[in-house]
């Protein structure tokens, strides 16, 4: 007779936490976590205690005080009587401006260079290689400083435009002034402007939205919507009859006529820059600091993007190209319709980190005196108020938020171009 007995149920003993391989790793992890938390708590409490001992407790009240300094480049109105918070906000917008401009330019240049580096033309491919290696292997700070130095030393001062026989003249039919203080370009002005709407009253993040711009966008959107309809109509007709009606003049009309009507109604004219007093007045002033930072950041990042694009294209097997040419596609269309859509899947993820890098590198702006958020909040405000901890923490938080937003958007785009497997 055999009796089946359950194996004796093992009692859990405390020593098993250390000697039983099933639990040991968990034990170690818990201890390590505790140790880490203890260290973090010690650092934080030590900092707070010492700051208190110094009589500088952590508080953010100084943000409401008047900043007392001026910022040259500002997208919104700001004066030295505004608060530190407002100054930080102006700086944040400046950071975003250079980041957005930089990302767009870097992408365009990067894709071009990446594709051209694979060109069969020996000279073009080599030139692109030299470009990539030069920019990739020199710190971006040096490129920024170099760009600024060239702009300052290489271009004429506004003074050179003065007098009977000026040594410098304005370009493009006297409409653009390129000086060593920046580039002045004509601006759009409206004689019958619709005015602005104000948001957020008198708070630190108040801003105005131009109704003219809003009207322009609405008309443009309407036109594009109508053009799509016309185009869809034509496609439907082509499906049904095999004949495609000529629609290009209708399209052009839809795009331009409403726009021209709107602009005439608003009284559009150009405001030209003019030498008055010490500087050019009127027009839009793009400061050297912005141009230098923008150029250097985009050319530097473009070198990395070029390599990513090249890697993405090379990752697509040669068979794809051959299959496309077997179908009779020309090389341009092969690239656009077959290779690039597939390559994008490889390209997008590393591209995200390059956009993030560009944005974070924009904090080098102070090297050329561009007042980004590091220059205002992390620079003058920190220096004048002596609140290092608060300013740096807030600054880190801001960059974190910008970076997470960029990667959020890019991840969404990445998902939309991902290979859908069935």
């Amino acid at each position: 007779m055999t009796t089946l007995t359950d194996p004796p149920k093992e009692q859990f003993r405390l020593s098993m936490l250390l000697y039983d391989t099933r639990y040991r790793s968990a034990t170690i992890q818990v201890i390590a976590l505790f140790g880490f938390m203890l260290l973090a708590a010690w650092i934080i409490s030590n900092t707070i205690q010492n700051l208190e001992a110094l009589g500088k407790p952590v508080e953010f009240g100084f943000f409401g005080e008047p900043a007392s300094y001026d910022i040259n480049q500002r997208l919104l109105e700001y004066s030295s009587r505004d608060s530190h918070l407002r100054a930080a906000f102006i700086g944040l917008l400046n950071t975003l401006v250079v980041a957005v401009l930089g990302c767009i330019t870097a992408t365009i240049v990067g894709v071009f260079v990446g594709v051209l580096r694979l060109s069969n033309n020996w000279l073009i491919a080599r030139i692109m290689t030299v470009y990539v290696e030069m920019f990739r292997n020199v710190p971006v700070l040096l490129w920024i400083v170099l760009a600024m130095a060239i702009l300052i030393e290489g271009l004429p001062a506004p003074n050179a435009f003065r007098g009977e026989n000026p040594t410098a003249t304005m370009d493009l039919f006297n409409s653009v002034a390129v000086t060593n203080r920046g580039v002045y370009i004509p601006e759009f002005l409206f004689t019958r402007s619709l005015g602005d709407i104000h948001f957020f009253g008198a708070s630190s993040i108040r801003f105005d939205v131009s109704l003219d711009l809003l009207a322009f966008l609405i008309v443009l959107g309407g036109s594009i919507f109508a053009m799509r309809k016309v185009s869809a109509n034509a496609a439907a007709k082509q499906e049904a009859t095999g004949d495609r009606p000529t629609i290009w003049y209708i399209q052009l009309g839809i795009l331009f006529v409403p726009m021209i009507v709107l602009m005439t109604a608003l009284g559009l004219h150009l405001g030209y820059p003019e030498l008055k007093g010490f500087n050019f007045k009127g027009g839009t002033h793009m400061r050297n600091s912005l141009i230098a930072l923008w150029l250097a950041l985009s050319l530097y990042t473009a070198a990395f993007i070029a390599e990513i694009v090249r890697a993405g294209i090379l990752a697509i097997s040669k068979g794809q190209t051959e299959a496309a040419s077997a179908l009779g596609l020309r090389s341009g269309r092969t690239m656009r319709l077959v290779i690039l859509p597939q390559a994008l899947r490889v390209i997008i993820p590393p591209m995200i980190s390059n956009y993030l890098n560009l944005t974070k590198n924009s904090s080098l702006a102070i090297a050329v005196g561009y007042m980004d958020i590091t220059g205002t909040l992390g620079g003058i405000t920190m220096n004048q108020t002596g609140r290092e901890l608060e300013c740096v923490l807030l600054l880190m938080l801001v960059y974190l938020a910008i970076s997470l937003s960029i990667s959020g958007v890019m991840n969404w785009y990445n998902n939309s171009v991902k290979l859908v497997e069935r």
Binding site: N50, K56, R181, G369, L389, V392
Partner: protein, 338 residues
């Protein structure tokens, strides 16, 4: 800029370490070297000469303190700081004292937790423009582009000045004096503004100093002086009285030429107390009796240091003006050595 983040972190680390720190006097003695924060280079005030040796008016204060505490005027580690980094460097303990033409203001003294030990130069903010511009007053500067060193009081004075005169300007913030000089000379800004002494020093290094003029307006009071961390009073006393010793020495007629002779003992009891042949002033300070003698010997008394580095005989050519002794109608007035 990434630097500020690092510095911020360094401050925090420094503050954490600061709690355990003993008196700065002991630290300096143990180290055998004084860490002194100076400018990144302003001829006359603090700049390395052709041999790489730091020279200047502010440098002389550092050397005097080193001579008083360590007995060696060359036992100084000069740490160049910018307008932005100087306070963090001092607060974090990276430097023991800051002698970097820094303006004594209420908020720096009270809120930033520093201790200004005195004034070694009474200054005011001025403007420099190219002569060719034909400007004779700062009030004619409407619409001008102005180069400023960021992180300084000049930045705030400038905003106030233009605002109260209801004229506009375009500020160009710049990190160091050298960069400002480059931009100004290239014509990227019309005006360079900083303390008048700094302008004179900068102009002296130009190829054609005569092509540039300082405008008559002085728009602020800028008492410049050395400072130390708040709370370490022994150290503050050492630096304060070293500076006072230099000023008193001039008033009492003690110079580097006659100091050896005078330290043997004179008829003037105050000279004797100062130079340590009488009384126990050095002991009260935690130093030896000859501390002030060494400090004065290091570079001479205040007047000698002034004449050597920024006086009228030098290319910088500053007159004593407000910085003359009180007996000559200036503001220099050292409390008595008693």
């Amino acid at each position: 800029m990434k630097k500020s983040v690092i510095l911020g972190a360094a401050t925090i680390a420094g503050l954490a370490a600061g709690a355990a720190m003993a008196g700065t006097v002991d630290d300096v003695k143990a180290r055998g070297k004084l860490n002194c924060g100076v400018t990144t280079g302003l001829v006359g005030f603090a700049a390395p000469d052709a041999n790489g040796e730091w020279k200047g008016f502010d440098v002389a204060v550092c050397r005097a303190v080193a001579a008083a505490v360590l007995g060696d005027a060359s036992a100084v580690e000069f740490v160049p700081t910018t307008g932005k980094t100087r306070f963090t460097a001092l607060a974090s303990g990276e430097i023991d004292m800051l002698a970097r033409n820094t303006t004594w203001t209420f908020s720096r003294d009270v809120d930033l937790k520093f201790e200004f030990v005195g004034v070694n130069y009474y200054d005011g903010q001025g403007f420099m423009v190219p002569k060719a511009l034909g400007v004779s007053s700062a009030k004619e500067l409407d619409g001008a582009t102005v180069c400023i060193q960021t992180g300084t009081t000049t930045e705030l004075n400038l905003a106030d000045f233009f605002r109260s005169n209801n004229i506009s300007y375009e500020p160009v913030p710049i990190e160091t004096n050298a960069e400002a000089q480059q931009q100004y000379l290239a014509g990227a800004c019309d005006v360079y503004t900083t303390d008048a002494s700094g302008l004179a020093a900068t102009r002296a290094t130009f190829e054609n100093p005569g092509d540039h003029v300082l405008l008559p307006e002085i728009i602020s009071k800028e008492p410049l002086g050395p400072l130390v961390r708040h709370g370490d009073h022994e150290w503050g006393d050492v630096v304060r009285w070293t500076l006072n010793a230099m000023v008193s020495a001039e008033e009492l007629g003690v110079t580097s030429a006659n100091i050896d002779e005078m330290s043997a003992g004179t008829d003037n009891p105050e000279v004797n107390r100062l130079l340590g042949s009488e009384g126990t002033l050095g002991e009260m300070l935690g130093l030896d009796a000859q501390w002030a003698m060494r400090a004065i010997k290091a570079g001479g008394n205040y007047g000698e240091v002034f004449a050597q580095n920024i006086g009228e005989e030098t290319p910088i050519g500053l007159a004593r003006g407000l910085n003359a002794q009180w007996t000559d109608g200036g503001l220099l007035y050292s409390p008595p050595f008693r």
